[in-house]
Symmetry: C2
Subunit: 251 residues, 2 copies
């Protein structure tokens, strides 16, 4: 019963998708997770192409990734994904990332809303397709904490960048994954040599567009290598907030 509610997708860590330590980058992993979400939803009639025909679109609201280890260059790995909850305005989709031998490398949580493409207003998910989306709710637990609340008080940006051609996706917005890459690019290379990203949490607040000036604010929380970040556009509106938790690398 539970099994056919879980989508499983086999992937490989390609040479240009790993960082200088030979580990899959978090941005590429995030991209794979969103693709797998798309495959799973499409197979169930709730994919982007399908709901676009009904003048609706999915909007990613939260993404949390916790990894014990990352696939290395050429490693095969598997992404499993399932729907944990469907509420009126949001749905929770979870992920597990498994090594070829079945070992769990990490897990992820995502929160999505559906909006009308023209109205830009939320759609009641529980009534979509006569409530059909509820049939896909799966009781498999996801053993990582739900997204928390992120507050950033910093007033001086750590970096200011302009959204460029390569940042923009098919919707004309800055790609959700690019924000992750821009935030990670604030850290010195040694951080990725000596440590690994144990948890990355992202709250997507507003869209940004080509030419927007993106100011990235970063602040360290306490003694541990635990950081909060916020991206604001054109000197004002918050685009997204993130939390990055690094842990010492065992090797």
């Amino acid at each position: 019963m539970t099994d056919n509610k879980i989508g499983a997708y086999d992937l490989v860590a390609e040479p240009f998708h790993v960082d200088f330590t030979g580990r899959l980058t978090l941005g590429v992993l995030g991209n794979h997770l969103l693709n797998c979400a798309g495959f799973h939803a499409t197979e169930r009639g709730f994919g982007m192409a399908h709901i676009n025909e009904e003048n609706c679109t999915w909007v990613l609201s939260r993404l949390v990734i916790e990894m014990e280890d990352m696939p290395r260059e050429y490693d095969k790995f598997r992404v499993e994904t399932w729907v944990e909850n469907v509420y009126r305005l949001f749905t929770d989709r979870d992920f597990a990332i498994l090594a070829a031998d079945g070992r769990v490398l990490g897990c992820a949580r995502s929160v999505w809303a559906m909006i009308g493409m023209n109205t830009r207003r939320p759609v009641d998910l529980t009534s979509m397709h006569g409530g059909g989306i509820n049939d896909y709710i799966c009781d498999r637990p996801c053993p990582i904490d739900k997204p928390g609340r992120i507050k950033v008080a910093a007033t001086e940006p750590a970096a200011v960048i302009q959204a460029k051609y390569s940042d923009i996706d098919v919707n004309g917005h800055v790609n959700s994954i690019r924000y992750i890459e821009h935030i990670l690019d604030l850290f010195p290379l040694e951080m990725f040599r000596d440590r690994r990203i144990a948890r990355f949490e992202m709250a997507y607040v507003a869209e940004s567009y080509y030419g927007d000036e993106l100011s990235i604010f970063l602040e360290k929380c306490g003694e541990a290598e635990d950081y909060n970040a916020e991206i604001r556009k054109n000197g004002g509106e918050t685009v997204c907030r993130a939390r990055v938790v690094f842990r010492e690398n065992p090797e």
Copy 2:
């Protein structure tokens, strides 16, 4: 005879791999070409992992991509690749990019050298594995011009960037494909809306590293939307030179 000298790899244009026009980005296509080169070489005992064991490594010297059209989001497409020539110090590898219906979307050429990992000096390709590499030479023609000579006289950079974590690949260098993305990011968005990249040519001259300051010089050649670009590091040494030819978009 010719057929088994040609590697064929089936791919899909993923949602986050297309630009705002819904077309596969040139950077992602370039990445696929290099991966397919890797698969083809690996299947013949000349892959990176194999030759690394012999303390050698492949170095990409030239990459030329000419496209009539690009795969759109979710399109299946195929990359075919074969070895055109093997010289003492260089080998020419060609590519064809085909739509699902077999239509040729474009072609590409690449030139590679092999160097000793410790000596950093070129290896005689014709004598590798007792001349075995010559067995893979294929007489299939590649209908696009060979790479030309690119000269850039500009003295004022169009952009200055610093090589960041996300730019660096497993070899510790700035990723070959990232240079393409950084050069394309110099153009306004309208360029990609009204035109398509008909030809992109890259000459890789030297490696750059984390923290290097990369100055990108750009100059228009004549009346057409034909540009030359050069990236120099830390105010001096040339890292790569590129030529980008845009053509009016029929649609």
